[in-house]
Symmetry: C2
Subunit: 554 residues, 2 copies
């Protein structure tokens, strides 16, 4: 057997160093450009994806009792017509439980080596996975390759580095010797063994199926826990491809491929509860709606639960150096992936009397208009930036808020279909922007999934900050932004967001402000309703295993 740990040791060491110093680094190129990869790889990836359409996805798992799956491409409106095993969960679990002792008995470095190899092979699979993500999650090809691909793989490696760190903290053996009274010296040889918790269920979301999927996989598997993926019914294929890689690597390394499995389902015949209720499920990693996430947090007290859900992410604009750079950065967030990212901005707070830009007052209406115009600018070539809508209910959401705009404020920018020449049937919508005051607080305090945002006229900047931070505290926030050239205000704003249990970014321009950097950003604080875990810190990994010891007198 190849020593996979030794093979990838340098990558792991670099990840550990990046986590410690938190600089920018990536182990996986995020551009799908043929300038980097050549012509052949991208084409081969696309061909492999297309060859899967209309087939029974090959996944040998004990307990298959039929087939399931009903994915539809948001780009074509056509079913992918791929079927996946429909699983008898208790039978699958029996097989997984049989596989556990060998995996548990493997030393940490062996397990980490397997995980490193899995990530490496998944990196080699990013082209086909990007097409799969595009035609299920609805992301653009480039976003699918980067955000749900390379960037997500980096996060998997980050989680693996933390798992390594937590496990390496415990020595394998120790010698312990001391005097007890006049009875002479007692000398003990001690051995410390790491014991996994049990089966880890990874519940993936529809829009970025692997964003938290890789980190949860690595955190659980490296610490000895088998993993069962439960993909969202509308985005199974990207997860299935990763599960295939896991099984392949596990088998090659001499382990049971059932250690990573998948339970797919459809909306009409869901399988999640069977996984959550099974007594062998010891860990749940959940990415999805705040409602279900909270239910799991409250009702699975016998399991370790790690959630990332969503919040109403805010921007507070106090002042700026460069209005165009600022509104372009914010508008980018409103457009990117049709605002279906956990880091997408929803609420933009601006004081009623406007803001200072380079010392000159710019009215509220001018800033609002500049934001809307910046959105138009980003929409000149929308396919790469906006992608499609993962779900048709988002169109209903847009309709609802369009109606509410007239009732509760005004429509600052209407949403309309976007036209992609290659995909005339794509399900799309440009950003809907509402202008409201705090009277509409009841509607903008909900996390709205999709391209709906609010430009909120606050009485003054203090009211803006209070509103935004109160919402972060009470309704959750994953990203928060402040724009100001005023040091006092920036300092006050940072404190206010921190007091609300939220992280904050100041004056980000010239880059996609939705971007969360693996190895550097602690993604999700765990202090508000947007999730109870941080990906990744020591707490995300340290409790996934326990320690048993034996000591022996010598």
């Amino acid at each position: 057997m190849t020593d996979l740990f030794a093979k990838h040791r340098q990558t792991l060491d670099k990840a550990l160093d990046a986590c410690e110093k938190r600089y920018s680094w990536t182990a996986y190129p995020e551009s799908p450009s043929s300038k980097i990869h050549g012509q052949e790889k991208p084409a081969a990836g696309k061909a492999r994806f297309e060859a899967l359409l209309g087939t029974d996805y090959p996944l040998a798992q004990p307990g298959e009792v039929g087939r399931t799956g009903g994915e539809i491409s948001p780009y074509t409106g056509e079913p992918l017509a791929i079927s996946y095993p429909r699983m008898d969960v208790p039978r699958l679990y029996e097989a997984i439980v049989r596989a556990m002792p060998d995996w548990r008995a493997a030393i940490a470095e062996t397990r980490i080596g397997v995980c490193l190899e899995i990530l490496d092979r998944c990196a080699g699979q990013l082209f086909e996975n990007a097409h799969a993500t595009m035609h299920t999650s609805g992301q653009s090809y480039i976003m699918a390759f980067a955000g749900s691909g390379a960037n997500a793989l980096d996060r998997g490696l980050e989680a693996l580095a933390y798992a390594h760190k937590a496990m390496a903290d415990i020595p394998a053996t120790a010698t312990w010797e001391r005097q007890f009274g006049k009875g002479g010296a007692a000398r003990l040889q001690k051995q410390y063994h790491l014991v996994p918790r049990g089966i880890g269920v990874v519940i993936c979301c529809a829009t970025f199926p692997l964003w938290n999927g890789y980190p949860a996989l690595c955190a659980s598997l490296a610490t000895g826990n088998p993993v069962v993926f439960k993909p969202h019914p509308s985005a199974i294929l990207p997860v299935a491809m990763v599960v295939s890689v896991c099984k392949e690597v596990l088998a090659e390394a001499g382990f049971d491929p059932n250690l990573v499995s998948m339970v797919a389902d459809t909306r009409g015949d869901p399988a999640t509860m069977a996984l959550l209720e099974h007594p062998a499920t010891a860990i749940v990693d959940f990415t999805g709606s705040p409602g279900f996430g909270e239910w799991i947090e409250q009702n699975c007290s016998d399991k370790l639960v790690y959630t990332e859900t969503a919040g109403c992410n805010s921007v507070v604009i106090e002042s700026a150096d460069d209005l165009q750079a600022m509104v372009s950065a914010i508008a980018h967030s409103l457009c990117q992936a049709s605002a279906q990212m956990c880091t997408s901005v929803q609420n933009i707070h601006i004081p009623a009397r406007g803001i200072l830009v380079g010392g000159q007052r710019v009215s509220f209406d001018e800033v609002a208009a500049a934001l809307a115009a910046a959105v138009e600018k980003h929409l000149e070539n929308p396919q790469v930036l906006c992608g499609t809508l993962v779900d048709s209910t988002i169109l209903q959401t847009i309709d609802r808020y369009r109606t509410l705009a007239a009732e509760r404020g005004r429509l600052l920018r209407d949403s309309a279909p976007l036209h992609y020449p290659d995909f005339p049937g794509a399900r799309t919508a440009s950003p809907l922007m509402l202008e409201v005051t705090s009277d509409a607080r009841d509607i903008y305090r909900d996390e709205i999934f999709g391209p709906v945002s609010f430009v909120i006229k606050g009485d003054g900047i203090d009211e803006c900050l209070l509103d935004a931070t109160t919402n972060a505290r009470e309704r959750g926030a994953i990203t928060s932004h402040v724009y100001s050239v005023n040091e006092d205000f920036l300092s006050r704003a940072v404190s206010a967001y921190h007091d609300a249990g939220a992280s904050v970014a100041c004056n980000l321009v010239g880059m996609p402000i939705n971007f969360a950097a693996a190895y550097s950003d602690f993604h999700v604080t765990g202090l508000n309703r947007a999730g109870n875990a941080c990906l990744t810190d020591l707490a995300f990994v340290a409790n996934r295993f326990r320690i048993v010891q034996s000591k022996r007198m010598v």
Copy 2:
């Protein structure tokens, strides 16, 4: 302000090294001998304890609404007649919440410095605390000084070392720079702040009030969380003394003394639920009965819960080199602190056909008789070893099992009062030993608190091991022992205990086998019903704080 971190830096560094290599080390001498401490200190400690009898214990806390407390010395049967503040929990919490921002804002090293100073002063208070522990928990003076004193302080320092390690893992700042497309380089300055969870409630047990008290205090306080001690109604004074030290050190360091507080109560007017139900309680450290511990684990899903309860600790005897050394070691556990320790042995499994000792067969009856005789030998001078019974219900427990002995097996050794010349009224009982078969499984599978043990005749050694490990898995175990000269069996036994989520000690003789070594033993696995936490590993500390970050474009 003295730099407390610098003052105690060497102690912390040594603790970190001991945790990493897990050798034997202590920062606090465990012997109260006047040969070490001189004549004056022990006498002064005793005098300070005696001066508190019959007084209102001075503890200035906002929200005092009367006095409470009803401790009775198990040595004299006399009330201590010390009163403690009876607290209005919401009012106390208001004051604590006001104290939090300054403590939260302090850097980790400041908080760790304060904790190190607290431990140091508590070490200077061990004499009076030993008398307090003796006359509340009922421990012998020497045990109170060592087990609930110096050894427990070491465990506090161990938890502090882990808290330091977990917090030091996060840098204060980072610079992050990368290229986004053709948009030029984005350069961000990042700051990472550690944020505590909220108020940590530490629920202490009656017999070893500070055993987990110091570790929980250090783990929560160092990571920024205020601590509210909830002592057991029968052992308030030892905890109150520690709380006084904490308040003193906090105030001297410029912090609000309410950051460590105490809510005392009586059995008739309990205060625990008011603490558990308060929304500002974010962490619960519980030491006590398995029943209440499990209730907290299941019903406080919105809080971090760390429990150490109890199990039915076992010994499996397969063979021995030296019968006398072995039975003496086991009998020591049956006697020490009247088997009221979390590490006390309860179930001794011996095969029906006896065991080999130095290659010669020794019958079951002979081993059982040797165990009973070894208990007699330890009882020749029982006061130091056995102490007293913390609670009169233990006498009823003994009566109940004496009756059951006749019905379900036979009485191997009857319990009787122990006579301590200095304390003629002491509440005492020597070990009650029952000989049973697995037919009595229903009675020996309960954790029985106090000096009741079972010598269990198993069909064969495999049945003995299966019974013991099944009980560990299903009913919990904190310590487990195996005696064997057979390498194959030892290896099998270690695996079987590990599979049951239990640690195991092999062939311990010539030392108190109940001893758990700070910095070396991972105390409690968290994998069975004897508790969900390990004191101390990274998981015990890493989730007590979260990380918020601010990033700023430069």
